[in-house]
Amino acid sequence: MNITAQQKAERFISVLRHCQLLGLEVLQAEETCLQMRLPYSDEIIGNPLMGIIHGGALTTLMDTACGTACFVAVEGMELCPTLDLRVDYMRASEPGVNLVAHASITRITNNVVFTECLVKQESDNTLVAKCTATFMRIGPEMTPPDFRGVIETGDASIYMGNEPLIKTKKKKGES
């Protein structure tokens, strides 16, 4: 199999439904570092007074960026679930501004992958948040053939279907 780090990263997030809905995009992927963008959207505001993106969307960006970096950095097709995540929020991001996560692999051991991530505003590189995340290694044999197929061929339809992705309408009063 001959795919680039960029392809491996893009195909990995192509089947993560929540990430696709947020519009997460791999800007650049290398062997041990990766950049991922979270586009600004009114839908993910946490504080309407100031139009600030909710920390949850940032947590998703950082978890995905670090997790994708692990998937790219570890040889083969090994999935690495998150063990823990520690985030420092430096300042609120400005309204209307896209955010970019700069994730890097600190160290890979037989059992664990250590990662770090900085989130900056795309427009002016202002540091918004910083995170340290640790991932478990569960072995490449835990990756099902269907998922391998997605990475090898780039065809996400087995998990995502062929319909365009739209957010499920919330039915009021139904829970």
Partner: protein
Amino acid sequence: MSFQDTIQKAQATGDFQPLVDSIPYANYIGFEFQRFGDNVIFKLPRNIDNIGNPILPAIHGGVIGGFMELSAAINLLMFMDTPLMPKIVDFSLDYLRAGRDQDTFAECQVLRQGTRVANVSISAWQNDRANPIAIARAHFLLAKK
């Protein structure tokens, strides 16, 4: 009504639903809550849009984090005398087991509220409260009156 007024009205009347409804991210993930007197249980109903692992399938870890962070902030607004949306300073999250594609619940405990900072611990579970899927702690900056 401004968001500020929405917060004040919720604190005055004890009805926090309009406040939660006015937060886009809460709507985005499907955030709910139910109060039982001085206790509150937060709920993240099963939602295919929150899936981040198509294999199991499992809820995205970031959504679980966002759900817990939002729970902590709403919990502070409900029980502490803070007139503004608390600002998150840091957040530390341990994932104990995969969050399956089903309803998730959370409860919060304010371990300490100082004049400026509050420390909140949050526990999230699915089937069994005694076996959480994730635990977290967060520091929030509180606005002065």
